[in-house]
């Protein structure tokens, strides 16, 4: 009898179905992985199990009995514990005080007894934790232990961990795995949500893979390779079509040399000695699962984050420490991942949004905005890129995702950049808009611009990239011509297995030593 068995779970939100007919089984003592790309429906499923969201249909069997989870506290009383990706701890309180806050009154009141139990539990599971310490003095890994111990204090039967390793160092990951293995030997079922395929194959006994809200496969990670799992995540059936002629790049436009970066944000991914070149007249695609350093690389390229001057070179000029405006004057343009709330100001009109990144095109005269020119520019983008809107004065937030993305892409491309950097250019965009956007990118490439595309959409990368690579844990795989990389290899790269080639630069890349 399985500890948890879900069958036919369906949850629809207005406009999308987050989970459709999802089935999942976790046995006692099993470490089960839940895998999928962003938006595949993992979080919704998790929230259903923890009682935060109620499913529209489907059965929930807990130790063989059909039940309805009424909410997180009900889930906890059943023995379900959850460790969220972002912790909910009060930094100014001690470990014991934080844990006491989540306990029922009678248990939380006796801090001394609680401290003793915290010590016992944490020692039993090899997680050193001092109940008297203040949370703000703890490392991120130690804070996570607080969250785990909080779950273990009760009689735990199912522990859900949402991407627990994303904030940990490799050593901490090892320690966490030890703890999880001990727990599983004691019969606790564990649901392990992750992006990182190598960890799944190392730790888990079973895996369920979600794609577009549906289960795309079940497997035993001990018996299949990371590449097989990657294939299930991105899809088997979609043809990796090659509609566009591949191009050969000319001189280098962007050179990144041994870029090392570590942000103050503990949730950010560090970059390690990352080097790459993007040449004029080519599209370089970077594949990878979200959270492996893409956002950090994008912010460093756009100038929203700065690094050492020499690490980034655009057309012969070192720009690592330049602000975004100066980079744009050199011919840089950038399409960020977030459309509303970064790429466009939600409450401003399209006319005003057109000015956001294109002020260097002569739209400003002695500090005064030339509204006629701005309107002309915005109208040109709207017409050329078939942006459906109520006109120049339509608020950005009133546009559909696809139309706003067309507008932003158009706004950047019409600046005639020498280098265009795109983050997830067709994420959450309908098919028609996707085709138009890809076509626009190819056109720009054929006019001689260098383009760097970061995407989770493998099909898209195969379709438009001339050269391709993958990023994992802040490391970049070798860069090769797209035709020479099959999806199995790319899957391995995305999992961080770069083979022997990762040691040195490849394919005419100059070595920066």
């Amino acid at each position: 009898m399985a500890r948890l068995a879900l069958t036919g779970i369906t949850k629809a939100y207005p406009g999308c179905i987050a989970n459709q007919d999802v089935s999942l089984e976790v046995k006692a003592g099993e470490i089960h992985a839940l895998l999928g790309e962003n938006g595949a429906g993992k979080s919704t499923l998790m929230k259903i199990i923890y009682g935060v969201v109620k499913p529209d249909a489907g059965t929930f069997l807990w130790e063989g009995q059909a039940i309805t989870v009424n909410g997180p506290s009900h889930a906890r009383s059943m023995g379900i514990g959850m460790v969220f990706q972002h912790f909910s701890l009060f930094e100014t309180l001690t470990v014991a005080e934080n844990i006491a806050l989540g306990l029922p009154k009678e248990e939380g009141r006796d801090l001394a007894a609680l401290s003793k139990r915290i010590k016992e539990v944490s020692q039993h599971y090899n997680m050193g934790l001092d109940p008297e310490r203040y949370v703000h003095t703890l490392s991120v890994g130690e804070q996570q232990r607080v969250e785990i111990v909080r779950c273990l204090l009760q009689d735990i039967k199912l522990l859900i961990l949402d991407e627990p390793t994303s904030v940990l160092t490799p050593q901490e990951v090892k320690g966490l795995f030890k703890t999880l293995n001990t727990l599983s030997e004691e019969g606790c079922a564990i649901l392990f949500i992750s992006h990182k395929l190598d960890e799944v194959t190392e730790l888990c006994h079973g895996a369920t893979i979600l794609r577009n809200g549906q289960v795309s496969g079940d497997c035993n990670p001990q018996q299949v390779t990371s590449a097989d799992i990657a294939r299930m995540m991105v899809g088997n059936d979609t043809p990796l079509s090659e509609d566009y002629v591949k191009a050969e790049g000319k001189e280098a436009v962007l050179s990144i040399r041994e870029l090392d970066y570590r942000s103050d944000d503990p949730f950010a991914s560090p970059l390690h000695k990352l080097s790459l070149q993007v040449k004029a007249g080519e599209i370089l695609g970077i594949a990878g699962v979200a959270g492996n350093g893409q956002d950090e690389l994008m912010a460093l390229l756009s100038g929203e984050e700065r690094c050492e001057k020499k690490a980034i070179n655009l057309l012969g000029e070192d720009i690592g420490d330049l602000p975004p405006g100066l980079r744009r004057k050199l011919g840089f343009a950038f399409v960020p991942e977030e459309r509303l709330g970064r790429g466009a100001v939600p409450d401003m009109s399209l006319q005003q949004n057109a000015l956001l990144s294109s002020s260097h095109l002569g739209l400003i005269n002695k500090g005064l905005i030339n509204f006629a020119k701005v309107s002309e520019y915005a109208q040109n983008v709207i017409t050329k890129y078939k942006v459906k809107s109520a006109g120049l004065s339509a608020q950005a937030k009133s546009l559909s995702g696809g139309n706003l993305q067309k507008f932003i892409i158009g706004r950047e491309i019409e600046q005639n950049p020498k280098l265009l950097v795109c983050s997830h250019p067709t994420w959450g965009v309908d098919i028609g808009a996707s085709i138009l956007i890809r076509h626009a990118l190819i056109d720009l490439r054929d006019r001689g611009a260098a383009i760097l595309v970061v995407s989770e959409d493998i099909d898209e990368l195969y379709q438009i990239s001339d050269r391709i690579c993958a990023i994992c844990h802040g490391d970049l795989s070798p860069i090769k011509k797209t035709q020479e990389v099959n999806i199995e290899t790319l899957g391995q790269w995305m999992a961080g297995q770069f083979g022997d080639e990762s040691a040195g630069p490849t394919e005419g890349e100059p070595a920066y030593v």
Binding site: A12, I17, G213, P324, R328, R342
Partner: protein, 371 residues
């Protein structure tokens, strides 16, 4: 089975109509509640409201007095509007106003034997600089230490009040003033020219109107204004575009400080004519209400400052005519802000009647891929 309930529902896009109607609705609710209040105090509500809101404006003198109060409100509100557009919550116009008055008074006292009105130029500039310097403290703390401007400006307001009290009891006290905490009366050349000799209204009303037009032009036509707006609307987009957040913060705060300082110095060199302990009846705070009531719109700002100016006159009027406390002014201002904030909810939400069928079976409808 039906179960009917009221529910707040988010509108697909903000209602322009409601944005315009909300202040009017708030004024109406304030009048109703004010009427109830007067009734509870044992007065005929209509008569009391008439005394409060209408009778102060029954003659030209009343209108001139209104103008005297509109000028400082308009100056402070204009500066605050710029800060609020950038989502810099400057509550410190009051302190900047007081420092402007204090600095300006010091300057005016240096020109006690001036024979030409040109000395007003350095006096006004000193007042503006004092308000600006006071705002600069906030700007420095915000940009260097990320100190929350709401806290720092409120604290600086109290410091400003005490600086003023110290000055009138100490260095700026009139030596021939029988030890009253007041400065000497300023000489005529250091007083702002009157528009008409029959009334107290002086040219500071033009400062206010000019400031509204200037700041409005800045915000709507210039690149700096655009950047301030983007910063306020969406800080991430401002970073994406590469706008310099700290510089914009300095600019908005200093401009507001200078305008509030000008209001302060205009007050001491205008209707007051000397430095006294109570140079502001809370203009800097009332200006916050003006900004929100006026929808951050130039014409709205003018009307809102007229209404707030009227609450000061109404308070005095009910005290004189009906022996009610003058603090009713604050009460009316508070109600106005309270109802305005409540009504503003209706800009992005609407109230709907929900008829809920019990035991409703939910079934998935259209099949759309999860985004």
């Amino acid at each position: 089975m039906f179960n009917v309930s009221l529910k707040l529902e988010k509108r697909p896009s903000d209602s322009q109509t409601m944005s315009f109607l909300s202040p009017l609705l708030a004024i109406l609710l304030t009048l109703i509640c004010g009427g109830i209040l007067f009734a509870l105090l044992g007065h005929d509500p209509l008569e009391a409201l008439y005394t409060f809101f209408i009778s102060p404006l029954s003659d030209a003198y009343g209108w001139a007095e209104l103008g005297i109060k509109v000028a400082p409100l308009l100056l402070c509100a204009t500066g605050l509007m710029m800060c609020f557009k950038a989502k810099i919550w400057n509550i410190g116009a009051e302190g900047q106003f007081i420092m402007g008055g204090l600095g300006g008074s010091w300057a005016a006292l240096q020109f006690m034997d001036a024979s030409s009105s040109w000395v007003l130029v350095p006096i006004m500039l000193t007042g503006m600089a004092s308000g600006l310097a006071w705002a600069a403290i906030t700007a420095y703390l915000k940009t260097h230490f990320k100190a929350n401007e709401i806290l720092t400006t409120i604290m600086l307001n109290y410091i400003a009040v005490n600086a003023l009290l110290w000055a009138v009891h100490g260095p700026l006290k009139d030596p021939q003033g029988f030890n009253f905490p007041e400065s000497a009366l300023f000489v005529d050349t250091t007083l702002l020219p009157l528009i008409n000799e029959d009334y107290r209204l002086n040219i500071s009303i033009f400062f206010g109107l000019f400031a509204v037009v200037a700041v409005w032009t800045l915000m709507s036509r210039t690149w700096v204004g655009y950047q301030i707006q983007v910063l306020g609307e969406d800080a991430k987009a401002a970073r994406y575009a590469g706008f310099k957040e700290n510089q914009l913060t300095w600019f908005a705060l200093l401009t507001c400080g200078a305008l509030a300082g000008l209001a302060g110095v205009s007050e001491v060199t205008g209707p007051i004519g000397q430095l006294i302990p109570s140079i502001s009846p809370g203009y800097g705070y009332a200006a916050i209400i003006v900004v929100f009531l006026g929808r951050m719109n130039p014409i709205g700002l003018v009307f809102a400052s007229m209404l707030l100016a009227l609450t000061y006159m109404g308070g005095e009027m009910v005290q004189m005519e009906m022996a009610l406390p003058k603090s009713l002014t604050g009460l009316f201002q508070g109600m106005l802000l309270f109802f305005l904030l409540a009504c503003d909810l209706l800009i992005s939400y609407r109230v709907v009647l929900v008829k809920k069928m019990l035991d409703k079976k939910v079934s998935p409808s259209a099949t759309v891929d999860a985004a």
